[in-house]
């Protein structure tokens, strides 16, 4: 009898142990699944609810890809034209891709280009020669020159397709924003049509070491100054020799520093930056903002207070910035 009772208790304990082990496994599995699921959801989920996406099809527009504008392998552009080809004049929006001047492709901006085209504009994504082992001489400057050279080809191609261009906007993200600002402030006069506005996010325009805190160039030591000089020289495509903070330095860096081209005739500018940007300096954007204010250039500046380079933590501000693009287009590039 005693033996049977003990046996029964043992059996019960075993069952309890198995039960606990089963629920422990369920908890671990549920934790792992919910953890991974929440990440997957965040990766896939569009926090802007598709507001800035076009349902792209032939009734909206058509895209012509990889049209050459120069001899370089990368000298190509994609042209998006709206389905309605009956108007006497069209606004062109050029959107330049991101990628730190070393990577990226116009195809990465298809969604943005389609969305803008769906609003009635001719849009173009333009590639430029990236800095790489194959192209060690490429620089921000050479890329900005390629962009400048591409614009007449883009306009000619649009006209060939029956879309006469009478005005344009230039825009981009990150590196593309840097190049867009350069075109808008430095090269607008070379454009075959008037440049009416520029918009972009997180593009560097200032090349003063004290602004580049995110790279430690603000320390002011011999080492940090050398590092800044090496990087800025590579970006400028020339050896920078002048002392930082002198007018001579401004002259040397001017070719790639959009900030230094801002004047009272500069085009209306719409910008968005992240306060904690680790890739390009937020401080430089403040300098650009001041230049726009000082020169009374019509502008709007959206600051994502909790974000870095991707403006990733401030969906509301980013949404407002995107909506503002349409307001700017309505104001400065109204459809005919």
């Amino acid at each position: 009898m005693i033996f049977t009772k003990r046996q029964g208790m043992k059996k019960q304990n075993n069952l309890k142990r198995k039960d606990r082990a089963l629920w422990g496994s369920i908890y671990v599995f549920a934790f792992a699944a919910a953890f991974a699921g929440s990440i997957a959801f965040k990766v896939k989920h569009d926090p802007l609810g598709g507001e800035f996406k076009a349902d792209w099809n032939d009734s909206v527009g058509k895209v012509y890809t990889d049209i050459a504008y120069g001899k370089g392998e990368a000298n190509t552009f994609d042209l998006y034209v709206p389905a309605d080809g009956s108007r006497s004049g069209y606004g062109l929006i050029v959107y330049l891709h991101a990628g730190g001047f070393t990577s990226g492709d116009k195809s990465g901006d298809a969604e943005m280009l389609e969305w803008l085209c769906s609003k009635g504009y001719v849009t173009a994504g333009v590639n430029y020669t990236l800095v790489s082992e194959a192209h060690p001489d490429a620089s921000v400057y050479s890329q900005s020159v390629e962009i400048r050279e591409s614009i007449p080809y883009v306009i000619a191609e649009a006209e060939k397709l029956g879309y006469p261009i009478d005005k344009m906007a230039v825009s981009g993200g990150s590196a593309g924003c840097c190049l867009a600002l350069l075109y808008a402030y430095r090269d607008a006069e070379t454009s075959p049509v008037p440049v009416k506005m520029v918009f972009g996010a997180a593009g560097p325009s200032s090349f003063y070491p004290e602004d580049w805190k995110c790279y430690g160039f603000d320390i002011g030591s011999a080492e940090s100054d050398t590092a800044a000089r090496v990087m800025f020289s590579a970006m400028a495509g020339r050896e920078l020799k002048a002392e930082f903070g002198t007018p001579e330095y401004d002259d040397e860096i001017r070719d790639i520093s959009a900030l230094l081209w801002v004047n009272e005739n500069s085009v209306p500018t719409l910008l968005a930056y992240g306060k904690y940007d680790k890739v390009q300096p937020y401080e430089g954007s403040q300098r650009l903002l001041k230049a726009l204010e000082d020169n009374h250039v019509p502008h709007d500046y959206y600051l994502c207070e909790h974000s870095g380079h991707g403006l990733q933590n401030d969906n509301k501000v980013y949404r407002d910035y995107m909506r503002k693009i349409l307001e700017y287009l309505d104001t400065y590039m109204p459809l005919k």
Binding site: Y27, F31, S38, K42, Y276, D277, K278, S307
Partner: protein, 44 residues
């Protein structure tokens, strides 16, 4: 509350905590690459 009810309640708490931590981990990872704050702005 029966034992099973308690276990299901704990299971729900575990799922919520894991989802919050997953989101925070992803945000922390992006912040590491791009910069940004762990809290503020978007919900999580």
């Amino acid at each position: 509350m029966t034992l099973t009810q308690k276990r299901i309640f704990i299971l729900l708490v575990v799922i919520v905590i894991a989802a919050v931590l997953g989101r925070l981990a992803f945000r922390a990872f992006l912040n590491l690459l791009l910069g940004g704050t762990l809290f503020g702005g978007n919900f999580l």
